[in-house]
Amino acid sequence: MDNISVILDKSHRDYTGSKMGMWLFLVTEFFLFAGPLLLYAVYRYRFHLDFQRGSAGLDMPLAALNTVILITSSLTVSLAIVSVKKGSKRLGIILLGISALLGMFFIMDKYIEWSEEFRRGIYPGSPSLLTRSSGEVIFYGLYFFMTGLHGLHLAGGIVLIKVMILQIIRGKIHETDFVQLENSGLYWHLVDIIWIYLFPLFYLIH
């Protein structure tokens, strides 16, 4: 390739660089949750009975269903990437659509769960919650903050998946250039991993 062609060539992409950048971003996302997680650890040690009481008030079966939903959505995202890499764009779009739909089911379940808690007077700063012990107030504060933060990340992931669907339709993602889709998949799997830890820490305290 001559010098003019090199200057005009816009097709250069750094696959490894893209992946590295995404992983570094995921590390920052991990530490965003690690801080509150360590806070949780300290206060659980200090108020373990109150945390137990708090956990008993949560809807574990619904949260378990949410975990199944999220794990399944990780599967469909992975299968979508495989489909696109093999040239099956239509199947990839369908699988990504299913992933986004599962994500929306998760958020809908979260809405149902939080609505029930709000109905019982459990929400940050509620007069009813403030009559409970300090440990329970801290538990619910951490619960709403961490699951809420996770929910926001999930919502962002759903938007990202929809953008990836559009990119596939426009032909920007295909079997020879799919790093955007892989990176989006990495983000989605991290959101899954975060929930894999949040579920037992908040819902399985006995």
């Binding site: 399944t72 799919f178 894999i196 399985l204």
Partner: protein, 94 residues
């Protein structure tokens, strides 16, 4: 060519990983029902860590990545435990 630099995983492997994750979720719930206290907490975290390992290794392809990318997760975990040690030692002396 902007292809991946790792070996592709078969759809069957993805399905097996999914089944493993669901099974471990079930085990996690059962452990919390049958046991309590510190044992239950440690078991829950260990099971969640195994689930995370499966997601990281197979779904996020760390198992077949090459080069410095493979170091990112171990380094992150080391830094996390250093931070945890600092925070717990601070809390212990309050």
């Amino acid at each position: 060519m902007n292809g991946s630099n790792y070996r592709d995983i078969s759809c069957l492997t993805y399905l097996l990983v999914w089944a493993g994750l669901i099974f471990l979720l079930f085990i996690n719930i059962m452990v919390s029902r049958l046991y309590s206290g510190l044992f239950s907490l440690v078991a829950n975290i260990l099971i969640a860590s195994v689930q995370s390992f499966l997601v990281l290794s197979f779904l996020m392809h760390l198992k077949s990545e090459k080069g410095v990318l493979r170091l990112i997760v171990p380094l992150t975990i080391i830094i996390f435990f250093i931070l945890a040690g600092m925070i717990f030692s601070d809390a212990a002396f309050r």
